[in-house]
Symmetry: C2
Subunit: 330 residues, 2 copies
């Protein structure tokens, strides 16, 4: 099964394609969600640690009879749950191709062309958002990781280990920001929750008041998180105003655009995002409104050197000699 023949591959390819055709074609006739329990599903799966392999068709049977019926059908026209893009055939085939190559993109020399593809597509996202040409970024596993990575760079830029760093985000901010603050050792207690107005946008006068109060108490304000589409209501904070305040107090400005920032592609919504290109970092989730397979998040840094300073590390086996900067381990 590890080295199938061409004929076997053809059979498998036909089987998965037929599965996809049947699944997508029959989606409207399924319930979008089926009430079930953990116990019911476990009872249908063979839970024994397998010692031998299983043939391809038996695996597909488990998928067809147990996994699919007991999944939420994200592509169903009556799937009214929170944001979750359906899988698309083009994305699924792309995943098959990517896993056939199984490239390791952690270093240019491991996968030259796949790394260039990542750089190219990151640059497209940079252009969509209007960031300057020097901005750069990378793909991560999701919006939470993108927020963590950006806040990690922000914290590194204002290194202080005495629990005096303070960051600011509105009440409507996604919980991954608080989790990132906890994980990074900033501490949940050092997030100041700024009040929102009737449209659930950050009240900038409350932001300024909180920063001034912290300065007066010997804290170190270092970062403000603006929302470009909150998860609860889609509110977009006043990015230009927040940038001005960030400049005034020398704060890192991070934008959490995981839920909504790709709405900038719509002419009608574009004005909401004015100033986004002035952020120091932004988190995005291409697996939401770009309909890519989970899990692909993205972080863009206006000054990629700030991220490099936070994350670079040199190990014996990652060292390269005589290479161009473009081909370095980053």
């Amino acid at each position: 099964m590890l080295e199938p023949s061409a004929d076997e591959l053809r059979d498998w390819g036909n089987s998965v394609t037929q599965f996809m055709i049947d699944y997508l074609g029959g989606l409207r006739d399924r319930p979008a969600y089926r009430h079930t329990s953990s116990r019911e599903i476990r009872g249908r799966l063979d839970s024994t640690l397998p010692i031998r392999g299983t043939d391809f068709n038996s695996l597909l049977k488990v998928l067809r009879e147990t996994i699919v019926p007991f999944s939420r059908q994200n592509a169903h026209p009556r799937m009214f749950g929170y944001v979750q893009s359906p899988g698309t055939p083009i994305g699924a085939f792309a995943d098959l191709l990517a896993s056939t190559l199984n490239a390791n993109l952690t270093i240019w020399r491991s996968a030259p062309a796949p790394v260039e593809l990542e750089r190219l597509t990151i640059d497209w996202i940079r252009q969509i958002l209007g960031f300057p040409a020097e901005a750069d970024g990378l793909f991560v596993s999701g919006g939470s990781m993108a927020n963590l990575a950006a806040l990690g760079a922000a914290r590194h830029a204002r290194d202080d280990s005495l629990g005096r760093l303070r960051m600011y985000a509105s009440n409507a901010t996604h919980f991954s920001i608080a989790k990132a603050a906890a994980l990074l050792g900033i501490g949940r207690e050092n997030i100041r929750h700024v009040a929102v107005d009737e449209s659930f946008r950050m009240q900038v006068d409350d932001l300024v008041a909180k920063i001034n109060a912290d300065l007066a108490s010997d804290y170190i304000p270092f970062c403000v998180v603006a929302n470009a589409g909150t998860v609860d209501t889609g509110a977009v904070d006043s990015l230009r105003e927040i940038r001005e305040i960030a400049d005034r107090f020398q704060l890192w400005m991070h934008v959490d655009g995981s839920y909504g920032a790709f709405a900038i592609l719509a002419e009608s919504a574009r004005r909401l995002f004015a100033g986004v290109e002035q952020a120091d970092s932004i988190a995005l989730d291409p697996h939401k409104w770009l309909y890519l397979p989970v899990d692909v998040g993205c972080v863009i840094y206006r000054d990629p050197e700030a991220a490099r300073a936070a994350f670079a590390h040199e190990a014996e086996y990652t060292r390269m000699f005589g290479e161009e900067a473009d081909e370095a381990f980053v």
Copy 2:
């Protein structure tokens, strides 16, 4: 292209299957690695931000003519680079199926059967390693994330924000441990590098000496990282001895098994891992010796409550009522 017909899907399925057959069949005739430059590859890619879609066959042509030739062929019989498992057809087809469903496994109710599959396979890994039935874990994006998650839980268990926490790892430890310490706010300077013996295994007397010296200087020793297969030489530390020392000084014992721990499946190597099931956490990379597609890492916690305490968060839209513990948001 977002809603292809059954005939289009059949065409695409045939094309990608044929691609896979050609690629795997012709692998021995390709160079494992081709000297190239960033500039050369970029010159071959259309770098314009695309406004319209591209047809499927044109995308496959780019893959065939530019991406594949300028990739490292990890499955090539003469690929002598560092650990990187080749893609397997079975894994590639599984990726296609997973992306067709595009399940979101962050919460049980988003994807009941896929979450149960994750739990089942995590439990298989638990059994392979010999951890007690109460142990639990999850899949993450790779070994570095698994190390970060485990050390995050360890740090949370001994919360101190004054820069006094100290952790211990041998000189031969992977750099992701130092990066995790930096990211978590523990500080790179608070990793104590324990000397190794002639087999590159941690010298436990040096470990004890360093812990005692730190205690004498008012630091708080909280964690020791043992290696179950170092990246440079595959050395496995004396896990039982390290467990004893961890118990004596009340340290969290984390094992980095990302590179080598699945060697426990080989009867001949099994004895090297004696005591691994006593660790508080272990990081693994199923995408290495289990030949799964990148990127799948795994972290197992002996006491999953410790991880829950570090990572749980309740948000309005994640709250559930009247559900069984097995079906909760975790």
